[in-house]
Structure formats: structure tokens, C-alpha cells
Amino acid sequence: MVEHRHWSMHVLPHLILGLGVLLVVFPVYLAFVGATLDPATIANGQMGVVPGNRFIENMSRVLLAGAGGSTREPVLHMLWNSFVMAMVIAIGKIVISILSAYAVVYFRFPLRKTAFWVIFMTLMLPVEVRIYPTYKIVADLGMLDTVAGLCIPLIASATGTLLFRQFFMTIPDELIEASQMDGAGPVRFFIDTVLPLSLTSIAALFVIQFIYGWNQYLWPLLITSKDSMQTIVIGIKKMIVTQDALTEWQLAMATAVLAMLPPVLVVVVMQKLFVRGLVETEK
């Protein structure tokens, strides 16, 4: 390491970091400011960088009464819908992918390799690519406007299986053999050894998938038509698009701020597990 560095070497990294943070934080701050203004100020385009005094009022209105635009659903309910969707997708994906990866890595069955590659190939077919056939199937099964229809097509993807497969391959074979000697069958080995060791991978996948589910736009837009099934991302969109009235930007901004909170919360809460997962590499 260089011991005596020029003073600029201390300042420059901080400058770059500061610029980066500003770039990310400023739009978020603007959204927050927008959420605190009264309709007149924002509609006149006089919005500055100083927050107004209508924050509580705007918030309580969107949360409980619903905003204008083409949706009348209270945001609280949209938050709940989004939360359910994100949770079902995240947990469903973890369950399916950890089990499929366990099968692919530890069991010798005919067409094992083929099964893995078929799963792998679905990486090339995200929902956006197969959206028409998927919609057709979901519609035919009568799952439009249901939680199942919203979540199941998004659960089916290979990312989690790949992640767990890679992780399982790092678990030494001797550990399985030791379990066998200790009288643990496949189910016991999974519950007693594989699951506890996978905890950090599960946490990582949960964070990624929760945010993935939360941010879904195209699929919920297609599959939900009832206001009661509306997710918050769709809600924001519908608030902005209005037929004859002015867009109530202060309410849209308030909703945007609310929409940001759960993913932030998930990341903050799960961060510790992340770091632990990175530090404890020894298996």
C-alpha cells in the first residue's frame, strides 16, 4: 500500500462518490418534495427544491381515500396487493428452485442433465418474450384477476435454480457421506444440512426476487383489470393518465415515495444476512 499519498488522492474518490450519490438521490428527493406540495404550486410548474407543508395531507389522502386519475383505489390496498405478489413470487421461487436444484445436483435419475438444460434454457424466455402464450394459458385456466394468475407465471424461471445449483456444488461430497454415515436420508440431509447452509443464498435470492416481483409492470397490467387487484406500480401509472382533469402530481409523487419504501426496507433488513453470507465463505 502507498503510505504517503497526495491530498488530492483523498479528495478525488470522495468527490466521485458524492457525485454518484447525488445522481441517485436527487430524483428521489424531488419526488419527496413533490409529495409535500399543494396541487396549485405543482400544477403551475413552480416546484422548487424546498418541501411544502402538505405532506401528511397528501399521504393520508392517497393511502386511505385514493387519488384521482383513472383509478380510485386507495394506495394502502395497492401496497397490500404488491406486497402479496412480491412475497408469493419470492417465496414460491425460492421453494421451487431450491428443490429443483437439490434434485439436479444430488440425485441420479434418467435425463438429469437434460432436465437441467431445459431449466437453463428458460433463462432465454422471460415473461416478456412468451407473454402471449402465457396470457392465453392463464386466461384459459380462468386465472385472470387472481393472485395465482399474477404470480405463478413469474415464479417459473431458472435464475434461482442456477444460483442454488452453483451453491450446492460447493458443498463438499464428504458432508453428504458423513450425513449418510450418521443415518440421515435425503430429506434429513436437506433439512438438517442443506437448508441451514443455504440460508445466505436464500436471503440473497429473496431480496432479488422480492424487488423483481414488486417492480413488475407489464404482466400485472395485462392480467389484472379489477381495481381491487391493482398493484402499486400500475396504480402510479393510472394516476398519471387522466381523461379530462389535471394530473395530481403531488398525489402521484406521494404514491411513488410509498412505493419505494418496501423494497428499501427489504434491502436494509436483509443486508446483514448478505454481509454474513459474504464473510462466512468456509463450508
Partner: protein, 358 residues
């Protein structure tokens, strides 16, 4: 307690590779049997077949006169210590030892007393609440031993358990394992590639090569009368010198133009190609020997190893330090007592036996 019996055991892998071929071996009750050989000789495969981790292609494995070929590892009443210890990283030391017992439905009170006993024997009492990652290599090794002991198995299996330890600890654990096995009297099968470990630990030593047994016997018996060039060079350190020679008949061979008297009871026709084995420690400076040229001298403290050439052939000699003031480039006249010469057939590599003995 049990004996281990292998009857014509063979293992062929899916690719057609024959790891073990028609191998028979009986390990008596309470015996510490060491399987030694170079990597790829099939010793680990053999151990894993006894453990039940590897299917048996041909033959039978019996524990205590009961064929166990089709039993799951857990049903064979054996315990195994792995090379990398294979401790459960997320469990405390206590749970690592208790896990196998819990799976067998042993009552918690019984588990607690067995673990406590094992911890006391292995000096692990202060470490029971730690996770494996907070332990040193030697401590992990002891936990792995503890996990085997608490099960009170019929047989212990060791798969190169000391090869991940540093040299000093290895010597220490070698003694500890041997003491422990003697105290518990459990029949043990121990795999290693280290001939020192094999020599020092074994009651019964099995030297393996290319999937077959080269020789079985007590360590000193194998050291004294290796039955093939392979065993001769594998057991003993530094390894035995093997010299190309031609028989002149009447128990005399010629090496590099020098006439050397071997066993007269060996009826070797003149012109027969043989290999003469001489252990480095059996060479000494003599007035009526042959002349070697010193290339390099290694000092080990109490001993010196002199690397030399005899004509075209290489030779090592081990002497007590200061007995021979050897230097590189020097010539020494050395010899070896006839009873310390080992004679092997140059073609087959097998030991040539006296007519009346064979």
C-alpha cells in the same frame, strides 16, 4: 467389536475402470489395519466399499460374519473419519457429535453422557459450544474422531485423516489415534499414502498397487522381506536402492562389473537378469566393498543421507552423522552384509525365493 472380511471384492466404475480387482482380506477383531499405496491404487475405493459409500461390483464384504453388501452406510454400524473432517459447519461441536445419535433415536440423556465422555477423552470439553470454523485443524480432527467414538461402532474407518495437518501435529495425532484405538479396542481400517504413518501405526499392513494387494503382513515383516520391487521401494524411507544385476551362477551376481555374493541357496542360472535391493541404512563403509562416488550429502541431524553413483546406477546410503566424513565428489568404498541383500526377478519384479522356502 467385529472382524472385517473381504472376499474376492472388485470394483469397476461405469467407465470400465477397474479400481479394485479380486481382493481378499481379513482384518481380525480389534486389529488396526493400514491400507497403504500410491494415489489411485484403489485403497480409498476399498475403504468406501466397506463404508457403503461405493457399490461393490463383485465379491462380498462381511462385518462380524454378516454380509453387508446391500446395507446402507448407516445400517453397517461403522464410523468414518474423513480427510477434510466433514464436520457440519453450521452445528456446534456438541451437535456435530450428537447428530448421528439423534438420527438413531438415542435418548438425549444418553447422548449427553456419551458426548461428555468422548469430549473428556479427546480434551474437547471447552470447545463443545464452538462452531467448527472457530477450531484449529487439530481440534477439528479431534471432533471428527469424537463423532466416530460416540457412536460406539463395530468398526472405525479412517480416510487419510492426517493429511490436512502440519507435520508436527501429524506425528502427535498419529500417536493419539493409535492410543485411542488400543484403549477402545475397535477394529479399524486406515487408509494412507504415507509409508511412515503406515509403518508406525499398523498391526496389519496392506500394501496396495493398481487395485490389488502387493503384500500383507506386520510392518516389520514387510520391511524385512518385501515380496516385490514395488513394496521394497514403497516401504522404508529413504527408499530401498534397486540395482540392475546379472547372475553369474553359484549365488554370485555382477553389478557394474563388481562381483557380489548373494544367497547361495538361490538357484539362479548364469546370465539371469535380477534386481538387487539394498536399504540405505544397510550400507556401510567397508574395506572390501565397492566404490561409489558421492554426489550430495543431506544432513538430517542424527543421520546423513549420502546420494552417490555406482557406475551408471544411483544409490543412497544412510549413516550416522560424523561416522563418514563424506563430501561431494569424494569416492567411498562401501559394502553390505549378504543377509541384507534382497534379490528380485528383473522381469516380474517379484522376490526370488530359496527353493526350499517356496
Amino acid at each position: 467389536m467385529a472382524d472385517i472380511r473381504l472376499d474376492h471384492v472388485g470394483k469397476t466404475y461405469a467407465g470400465g475402470f477397474e479400481a479394485v480387482r479380486d481382493l481378499s482380506l481379513t482384518v481380525p477383531d480389534g486389529c488396526f489395519c493400514v491400507l497403504v499405496g500410491p494415489s489411485g491404487c484403489g485403497k480409498s475405493t476399498l475403504l468406501r466399499m466397506v463404508a457403503g459409500l461405493e457399490t461393490i461390483t463383485t465379491g462380498t464384504v462381511s462385518l462380524n460374519a454378516q454380509v453387508v453388501n446391500h446395507l446402507e452406510p448407516a445400517q453397517r454400524d461403522i464410523a468414518m473419519v474423513f480427510q477434510n473432517y466433514a464436520l457440519y459447519p453450521h452445528m456446534r461441536v456438541y451437535d456435530n457429535m450428537a447428530y448421528g445419535l439423534r438420527n438413531r433415536g438415542v435418548p438425549e440423556a444418553e447422548i449427553a453422557s456419551r458426548v461428555a465422555h468422548a469430549a473428556q477423552i479427546l480434551d474437547l470439553e471447552d470447545l463443545l459450544t464452538r462452531k467448527p470454523r472457530a477450531l484449529s485443524g487439530g481440534q477439528r480432527q479431534r471432533v471428527a474422531m469424537g463423532r466416530a467414538i460416540v457412536r460406539k461402532p463395530q468398526v472405525f474407518l479412517f480416510d487419510e485423516p492426517l493429511s490436512n495437518l502440519d507435520a508436527k501435529l501429524r506425528v502427535h495425532m498419529r500417536v493419539e489415534i493409535r492410543k485411542l484405538q488400543k484403549a477402545l479396542g475397535v477394529t479399524s481400517l486406515y487408509v494412507t499414502h504415507d509409508q511412515t504413518e503406515a509403518m508406525t501405526m499398523a498391526d496389519l499392513l496392506v500394501v496396495m498397487n493398481k487395485g490389488v494387494i502387493e503384500q500383507i503382513g506386520a510392518p516389520m515383516e514387510i520391511y524385512r522381506t518385501p515380496m516385490s520391487v514395488f513394496v521394497a521401494t514403497f516401504i522404508g524411507s529413504p527408499p530401498m536402492n534397486i540395482l540392475e544385476a546379472t547372475s553369474l551362477g553359484d549365488g554370485v551376481v555382477s553389478i557394474e562389473g563388481h562381483r557380489l555374493l548373494i544367497d547361495q541357496a538361490l538357484s539362479l542360472p548364469a546370465g539371469h537378469k535380477v534386481k538387487i535391493g539394498i536399504r540405505p541404512e544397510h550400507l556401510s563403509v567397508q574395506a572390501d566393498g565397492f566404490t561409489i562416488h558421492v554426489e550430495l550429502v543431506e544432513s538430517l541431524g542424527a543421520h546423513q543421507i549420502i546420494h552417490a553413483t555406482w557406475g551408471q546406477q544411483k544409490l543412497a546410503m544412510q549413516v550416522e552423522t560424523d561416522r563418514v566424513p563424506a563430501q561431494s565428489g569424494q569416492a567411498l568404498v562401501v559394502g553390505c552384509a549378504p543377509q541384507h541383500l534382497h534379490v528380485f526377478d528383473a522381469q516380474t519384479g517379484q522376490r526370488l525365493l530359496r527353493d526350499n522356502a517356496s
